[in-house]
């Protein structure tokens, strides 16, 4: 059965990919993130736009294509997300 993921969990997955699982040093392409985060192009586009505007991701122009890298703020957010995700799991909840 497919696992239901909250919006927060999807953001966590995207940030984790851009931190731990990059294709190369320039960052991850949208196609790569779609495959890793397993969501549609239209949805990931909206999320990436929000994450860049919030300063959690950095948009890098690399050889004519856009790539995404996690920022320092994004790393801090991801750390907080993982900590409090574990905290909520203790209560049988997901954040």
């Amino acid at each position: 059965m497919a696992e239901y993921r909250t919006h927060m969990k999807i953001i966590g997955d995207i940030l984790s990919t851009t931190r731990d699982d990059l294709q190369d040093e320039d960052g991850a392409t949208v196609t790569y993130l779609i495959r890793k985060a397993n969501i549609s192009h239209s949805r990931i586009s909206r999320i990436l736009k929000t994450l860049v505007s919030q300063g959690l991701l950095e948009k890098v122009d690399s050889q004519g294509s856009n790539k995404y890298k996690i920022s320092q703020t994004g790393r801090e957010f991801l750390q907080a997300y993982k900590t409090f995700s574990g905290f909520a799991t203790n209560f049988g909840l997901t954040i």
């Binding site: 927060m8 919030q54 300063g55 703020t73 801090e76 957010f77 750390q79 907080a80 997300y81 900590t83 409090f84 574990g86 905290f87 909520a88 799991t89 203790n90 209560f91 049988g92 909840l93 997901t94 954040i95």
Partner: protein, 213 residues
């Protein structure tokens, strides 16, 4: 003995509720998660509820000295705690206070028939028991899904609080028995069990960012 235990219970409840509420609030501040917001409201309410009762006992003991705490203070404190228990249950996707299932509706109504019709405090205790039992069951079910050991501690804590409420309610039937003392000891155990996983949250590693919404 009862007075001492009552004070310990209310102080422990206040501190544990406050601690978990603060951790949840920090989590909400850092992640913006609505789940953590609901948990923060829940545990701040529980904390305030215990504090109101503790303050009532202190004022009675040192100022009024009438021999017994005002009934409405106890009722107010329990009502505020019940709000907190509701938010814990609500976080587990409870849709309303009266579930649509015929079975649950009937089970949910039983304590309301069992209690005295005049004392609102008994109704709040009954509702608290239902909400705590619901929260404990949902938490233990989540353990079977993700095998997180902290969930066992929280489920045990909520179960002991529910049992404490039940035994405490039963002590009204047998007022001179050991049941009331037993209920307070059980509740203190429940609060400690609730606090165990929270004490392991590594808050020192979290860096606060005031510019992040």
């Amino acid at each position: 003995m009862e007075f001492l235990l009552e004070n310990i219970l209310n102080l422990v409840g206040f501190l544990v509720g406050l601690s978990i509420g603060i951790v949840s609030a920090i989590g909400f501040r850092n992640t913006g998660s609505p789940t953590l917001f609901r948990l923060a409201i829940a545990f701040f309410s529980i904390s305030i509820g215990f504090f109101v009762i503790w303050a009532g006992y202190m004022i009675e003991d040192f100022v009024i000295q009438s021999g017994s705490v005002e009934r409405w203070i106890q009722t107010l404190g329990i009502a505020i705690q019940t709000v907190g228990y509701f938010f814990i249950a609500f976080s587990h996707s409870i849709k309303s206070l009266f579930p649509k299932s015929k079975y649950f509706r009937s089970v949910g109504m039983v304590p309301l028939f069992l209690v005295s019709s005049v004392q609102i405090e008994h109704i709040f205790r009954s509702v608290s028991f239902i909400l705590l039992a619901y929260g404990a069951i949902e938490t233990i079910l989540s353990y079977f899904e993700n095998r997180n050991k902290g969930a066992i501690s929280v489920a045990t804590g909520l179960s002991l609080l529910a049992l404490g409420e039940f035994v405490g309610w039963y002590s009204f039937v047998f007022p001179e028995s050991i049941l009331y003392v037993a209920s307070m000891v059980i509740k203190i155990g429940g609060l400690i069990a609730l606090f165990i996983p929270v004490s392991k949250v590594p808050l020192t590693k979290i860096k606060f960012d005031d510019n992040f919404d």
